[in-house]
């Protein structure tokens, strides 16, 4: 029993942080918002080169052969840096649902995939940068074409309806369900990362912004709000890690839902508090806080709302 990141995972985290920072950090998301996807796609290529786009692809197919635990550790960093694009789709969802050739393409970064999943993800993220689109239903997967873009509360996200074109391929519903769970869990991990970033930015700002002759972070009403964010995030992360470890067991779906509810709630609290701590500057697009704030809200809504996942847990508690 050692419920901490392994040295290897810490090394992966360092590598991911380095690559993203070297490629512009939050500036990548900012450019993506403005319609300039080039820095984001360059970052994508760099991550692929480091093997990270193939995190969940077997080594035999040129992937990294990583575990679900490795995935959540990396996904948290994607959330921290607010990396744009259909990353979760390409790293977590599609590798389990496409054929070997496409899987290898996803791993080496030549393919960027996005998808709709009937019910939980009715619109596909950032289809404009993807060269593979899939419409996924309960028991089959079909190639698809995107319709027109719809805006999101997070300006770094564009959402597209897809229309199936090719003939659907049968896929075991259990495999689809588990790929969706994995994506949901990666989304939860990303929410923890985004929440951590919002908290870190808020704490830094609270130390330097002065009003009434003192840093605003000295005032207890802000301190206590920030302390609550610290607590919420600290207790959400273990749920994400715990769910990663129960992959493949009968408890997994319920654990994923718990992680998503807690991470979503913690990130929402972090977002709301970050805005309060920053005052009006936080309410502007000029300030980076808006990047993480919008992402927290959008990712909390995506891959199943808190209501959806609470109901899933409630049903499971009634059944067991």
């Amino acid at each position: 029993m050692r419920f901490l990141s392994t040295d290897e995972q810490l090394a992966i985290v360092d590598a991911v942080d380095d690559i993203i920072s070297a490629n512009g950090g939050a500036r990548v998301a900012r450019a993506w918002v403005d319609g300039d996807t080039a820095p984001g796609l360059a970052l994508w290529a760099q991550l692929a080169e480091a093997g990270l786009m193939g995190l969940r692809v077997d080594e035999a197919l040129g992937g990294f052969g990583g575990s679900t635990s490795d995935l959540v550790v990396v996904a948290e960093r994607l959330g921290w840096h607010s990396v744009p694009g259909p990353m979760l789709e390409s790293i977590a969802l599609l590798p389990h649902l496409v054929d070997d050739e496409d899987r290898a393409g996803l791993a080496d970064g030549t393919l960027i995939g996005t998808a709709t999943v009937a019910g939980i993800a009715p619109l596909a993220l950032d289809a404009h940068v993807a060269n593979r689109h899939y419409a996924i239903a309960e028991s089959h997967v079909a190639a698809a074409d995107p319709g027109g873009a719809i805006a999101s509360i997070d300006p770094a996200r564009r959402l597209f309806p897809l229309t199936a074109t090719g003939s659907p391929r049968d896929v075991d519903p259990a495999v689809i369900a588990s790929a969706v769970d994995e994506t949901t869990l990666a989304c939860a991990a990303g929410l923890v990362g985004t929440g951590e970033r919002l908290l870190a930015e808020s704490v830094e700002y609270a130390k330097v912004r002065e009003q009434f002759g003192a840093p605003v972070g000295q005032y207890q009403s802000l301190k206590h709000q920030l302390a609550d964010v610290r607590v919420a995030l600290s207790f959400a992360r273990p749920l994400v890690w715990g769910a990663a470890l129960s992959a493949g067991t009968s408890k997994h779906s319920r654990d994923v839902s718990a992680a998503k509810v807690a991470a979503g709630a913690a990130a929402r609290l972090a977002a709301q508090t970050a805005l309060q701590v920053h005052g009006a500057i936080g309410y502007t697009r000029e300030h980076d806080v808006s990047i993480w704030l919008a992402r927290a809200v959008a990712h909390d809504q995506a891959w199943g709302t808190q209501e959806h996942h609470r109901d899933r847990i409630a049903r499971s508690l009634l059944a067991s």
Binding site: M1, K207, R310, D311
Partner: protein, 389 residues
């Protein structure tokens, strides 16, 4: 990361589960805040001790099993899930013993540790005073030197001392050097509650039981052999227990796993998916799982040689609010029956009793406001409040 247990740890868990299943009293004991209940809980401590389960992580020479931290948490999970009684000896075992091990003399170890584990010596924590709650360093009760008798004379008043009504001994801080700065002139004493000059006045709690008491000291003599740590060093000694109290030792995850399991049981009998109550039951379940997993993270760090420190304040805020939410949800699910107490009520009124006690969680062991200050200042590094006495 992993949560894998060794075969030995699994066997340990099973052994604990089996013993508890055979020994936990079938009908719940009366409240330990009543005279009969206190006695019954003392006897349960003796039973636990006889079975070798009183203090699993202690050295064998004091009645423990030399078990590691992981085994301790496993035992706590099993303990609460089995429905076993609350530990009337917890002040001694979880608050005093850790510092006794660290600061006590070998003679003090021999004199106190063995009796702490079998229910024969129950301790009360005498820290708070009428004028010193959150601001504990402002205590005014005094200790004056009595060289002739080789000890100290205690004077003053302590309050809100849990279980002091029936407990045997107390431990607490007294101002031994009035000229020293607030934190410097304090000394940590151990004393019998039936000593000459001590008066214990029971205080009735909100639930009607006499769970805590005031203690008056009128020239109470305490020999040097009952000073814990060095004279004047009491603050440092005391603070090393405060972390224990807020963190792991007072509120092991098993307690809330069990409470959430009872809530889930009630939900199966009375609940409907998609209601606000269902959401609250789910949040309670998530909270209990989160607390359990967070604890495993803490344990892992401790096994790596790190200490808990200010992180205990996060635990404190989390468990106390989780407990309050669990109990409030339980009451709501009982509907009109949710106000009933005693034998005519569901589960003998346990939901109401536990609810009332849960309301004190954000107050005792350092209020949650104080814990949030600690989190903000020591974990987040925000500036300290300018105004300091």
């Amino acid at each position: 990361m992993n949560l894998d247990l060794t075969p030995e740890q699994d066997a340990f868990r099973l052994e604990a589960r089996t013993w508890l299943a055979e020994n936990v009293p079938v009908s719940p004991l009366p409240s330990m805040d009543s005279e009969a209940g206190f006695r019954a809980h003392r006897e349960w401590e003796a039973t636990l001790h006889a079975g070798g389960w009183s203090v699993v992580s202690w050295p064998a020479e004091y009645g423990g099993r030399d078990a590691g931290l992981i085994e301790w948490v496993l035992f706590e999970e099993e303990y609460y899930l089995s429905g076993a009684p609350t530990r009337v000896s917890q002040n001694g075992i979880s608050l005093l013993a850790p510092i006794l091990f660290e600061y006590g003399t070998p003679e003090q170890h021999a004199r106190y540790l063995p009796h702490m584990t079998d229910g024969s010596l129950i301790w009360a924590q005498a820290w708070s005073e009428p004028g010193a709650g959150s601001d504990l360093a402002s205590i005014r009760s005094t200790a004056t030197r009595d060289n002739a008798r080789g000890g100290w004379l205690l004077n003053g008043q302590k309050t809100w001392s849990s279980r002091a009504v029936w407990a045997d001994r107390g431990f607490g801080l007294f101002r031994s050097d009035p000229s020293a700065s607030r934190h410097a002139g304090l000394t940590y004493f151990l004393f019998p509650l039936d000593a000459e000059g001590i008066t214990v006045r029971p205080i009735t709690q909100i639930d009607g039981d006499t769970g805590f008491a005031e203690i008056y000291f009128d020239d109470v003599f305490v020999p040097d052999s009952d000073v814990l740590g060095a004279p004047g060093d009491g603050w440092r000694v005391a603070m090393s227990t405060a972390g224990n109290e807020r963190g792991l030792s007072l509120r092991a995850p098993g307690r809330f796993l069990a409470a959430s399991a009872r809530l889930t049981e009630l939900f199966r009998e009375r609940g409907t998916v998609g209601t606000r109550t269902a959401d609250d039951v789910v949040d309670a379940w998530i909270g209990a799982q989160a607390y359990r997993l967070f604890t495993w993270g803490t344990v892992s760090r401790m096994l790596d040689g790190e200490s808990v420190g200010a992180e205990g304040s996060m635990n404190k805020v989390f468990w106390s609010e989780l407990d309050r939410d669990i109990q409030a949800t339980g009451l709501r699910m009982l509907g009109a029956e949710g106000e009933l107490r005693g034998s005519g009520a569901v589960d003998g009124g346990r939901w109401v009793d536990d609810y009332l006690f849960s309301l004190a969680g954000p107050i005792y062991a350092g209020t949650n406001e104080i814990q949030r200050n600690i989190i903000a200042e020591r974990i987040l590094g925000l500036p300290r409040d300018g105004k300091k006495a």
